[in-house]
């Protein structure tokens, strides 16, 4: 069976995976980048370029762990060893189900998460199509827990970040001077954390082995280099007395604009590291099963070209459609000044990168929502629509069974189509 249809399976998986990655790039990236455009720190063109570069880098450099989880963390490979075809069908069905559900949801404008769809789909096909005992419920439980914890964590980090900005900069007698003094520290923090987590967890598949000391050293170096660029950009910002008259913080916000640029890069990187796995994980599973001739092995190395395919898919989605979504989001959020946008985005980026490091697939959007709420809690945002927050969190509950049911249907459909009897 596998030998007979091996190439077909791989091609199908590539097509479905690319479709899914396209969807992620078209829709999800806007959530990650929209805040930067909305706060006026980036133009749409800049946002698309940054997103393309850093999404790809994130997927390639730090996307391995989460891909591993999606691919083999939730379903016990030992039980499936005798019937590798089922895993192939299941993963194909999951990709198709998640992609379809995202398309339907986007059509109706429902706020669903790509992560939730794919996890729901995989758990669905495994539990119903094969057997409840195949699902690693402990691991799935941890993933579900992380969906609750990640927005909370992002909210707390955002709250702390924004409070520190208030205390150090905004609430002082000389906000502009203090902004120039302290913003480089935030730039360093953003670059350092992103680099550190990536180095700690992500780079083994590139054949890069660093000691703990070296890791911290390299992360610090990255932080310093990025900060140096930031300081240069900040030096160029002058007080603008005209703008100051209508809004006292306008020059301060320009300084934060530099920071927002760095944060946007970190966010795109984080998003690439986590969300690309949604599309690429099942694809990786199919490829490894087919190429190894039916051995369901969790430990086999993942070919780099798969991550690259995912990264390219995201970029294509972004360029063909995502820029429109970023434009709508970006022009809509006028409430988000760079100082607030940075706190929310950096909190989300740090949470996501950390989750990527531990291999947990979390929803970038929900994490970002948590970050925005955190800034709101610090009384930094004039109005937040709690009705939308409710809708977003309700969509969790709907997405899991929806993804599962679709996956089950496609699973049996594929089995029938290939005439598989076992």
């Amino acid at each position: 069976m596998l030998l007979e249809y091996g190439t077909v399976f791989i091609i199908l998986a590539c097509v479905f995976g690319f479709f899914m990655a396209w969807g992620v790039g078209a829709n999800d990236v806007a959530n990650a980048m929209g805040t930067s455009v909305g706060s006026g720190a980036l133009t749409i063109r800049q946002a698309v370029i940054i997103a393309a570069v850093f999404e790809f880098a994130g997927a390639w450099l730090a996307g391995g762990q989460v891909t591993q989880t999606i691919r083999s963390g939730m379903v016990d490979p030992a039980i499936m060893a005798g019937t590798p075809e089922l895993l192939v069908f299941g993963m194909l069905a999951s990709l198709l189900a998640a992609g379809t559900w995202l398309l339907v949801a986007s059509f109706f404008g429902w706020p669903v998460s790509t992560t939730h769809s794919i996890v729901g789909a995989i758990v669905g096909f495994a539990a119903v199509g094969i057997g409840v005992e195949v699902v690693e419920w402990g691991k799935v439980g941890r993933i579900a827990m992380s969906w609750v914890i990640s927005p909370l964590l992002a909210g707390m980090i955002a709250f702390a970040l924004f409070r520190s900005v208030q205390i150090l900069i905004l609430d002082t007698r000389d906000p502009f001077g203090n902004a120039r003094r302290f913003v480089p520290a935030y730039i360093f923090l953003a670059a350092f954390v992103t680099a550190l987590v990536t180095l700690l967890k992500g780079l083994t598949h590139l054949g890069l082995q660093l000691s703990t000391f070296e890791t911290y050293g390299v992360a610090t170096a990255v932080g310093i280099v990025v900060t140096a660029f930031g300081v240069r950009a900040i030096r160029r910002i002058k007080m603008d007395p005209d703008a100051e008259r209508s809004f006292h913080f306008s020059s301060v916000e320009k300084v934060f604009g530099v920071l927002m640029l760095v944060t946007a890069c970190a966010m795109a990187f984080a998003h690439g590291s986590n969300d690309v796995a949604n599309a690429v994980g099942p694809l990786a599973a199919v490829v490894s099963v087919v190429q190894s001739g039916g051995v369901v092995d969790a430990r086999s190395a993942m070919p780099i070209w798969i991550l690259i395919l995912g990264g390219v898919g995201i970029v294509v989605g972004l360029v063909t459609y995502g820029h429109k979504v970023i434009a709508t989001v970006g022009t809509g959020i006028t409430q988000l000044t760079p100082s607030r946008g940075f706190a929310a985005t950096l909190a989300a980026a740090m949470t996501v990168v950390m989750a990527s490091g531990t291999g947990l697939p979390i929803s970038t959007t929900h994490t970002l929502v948590g970050g925005v709420l955190g800034v709101g809690m610090a009384r930094g945002i004039a109005a937040i629509n709690l009705g939308v927050v409710r809708t977003i969190f309700l969509s969790w509950i709907v997405t899991l069974p929806a993804g599962a049911i679709l996956a089950i249907i496609f699973f049996f459909g594929l089995k029938g189509a290939f005439g598989y009897a076992g």
């Binding site: 929209g34 208030q166 205390i167 709508t328 988000l336 009705g387 927050v389």
Partner: protein, 226 residues
């Protein structure tokens, strides 16, 4: 796929800008009063009526803005300031425009003739009262900075200083009001009694504008206190 996005939807429309727009409208409405008063004192009722029409129209527009803002603050909004305070400030702001309209309507309707020796004082009084409204407007315009700073720190001191200034302006109007009333009291026996009644009414109304302006300020102070 429609380019609809829920992170964008997350941000409810801020009440700060509409509140400021409303206050601006109220200020333009009030700022029309001196011109009206000049015309009335000169007994130029044609010009006074045009001016009164403008005031009435501006008051109407302020009303519309008030309604729009009220509709835009549903329960499910997490606001940086208390919903009640926002609505209260709005109501008080709107009352300033109402009083301005009343003053103009009353003077025009009764073709009032103030005693010549009072006119100078009355103009001062009106101007100071309008100063109070303008100061309140200035404070309302600090709201976006307050949100930015999370209602804490240095910005709060700035606003508190402005509030003190508003209080002292309001105190001035009280002093002038006392003077105007005394001057009216001294000559009320020689004037038609019904006219005197309405003179007092106009004097009170002008003072009310400053009082309401001060109330806008104290509501904003409550926002700071939370």
């Amino acid at each position: 796929m429609s380019p609809k996005n829920f992170v964008y939807d997350l941000f409810g429309r801020s009440p700060v800008r509409p509140l400021q727009t409303h206050m601006d409208k109220v200020q333009t409405c009030v700022a029309e009063l001196p011109a009206f008063f000049d015309a009335a004192c000169a007994q130029d009722w044609v010009r006074a009526e045009q001016s009164q029409q403008r005031i009435a129209r501006l008051e109407n527009e302020a009303d519309e803005l008030k309604k729009a803002l009220r509709l835009q603050l549903p329960k499910g909004m997490m606001l940086a300031m208390s919903r009640r305070d926002v609505l209260e400030v709005l109501t008080v702001q709107d009352r300033i425009a109402n009083v301005a309209k009343d003053i103009a309507g009353l003077i025009l309707g009764r073709r009032m003739r103030f005693p010549a020796n009072m006119i100078e004082d009355l103009k001062d009084y009106l101007a100071r009262s309008i100063d109070a409204v303008r100061q309140a407007g200035r404070i309302v315009h600090e709201l976006d900075e307050l949100v930015e700073a999370g209602f804490r720190g240095h910005e709060v001191d700035v606003v508190n200083d402005m509030l003190k200034e508003l209080d002292s302006i309001e105190h001035d109007t009280d002093t002038i009001q006392r003077r105007v009333r005394e001057s009216l009291f001294g000559q009320e026996a020689e004037l038609p009694p019904v006219d005197v009644m309405f003179f007092y009414r106009v004097i009170d109304d002008i003072g009310d504008m400053a009082d309401e302006a001060q109330r806008v300020g104290s509501r904003l102070q409550l926002m700071l206190a939370r």
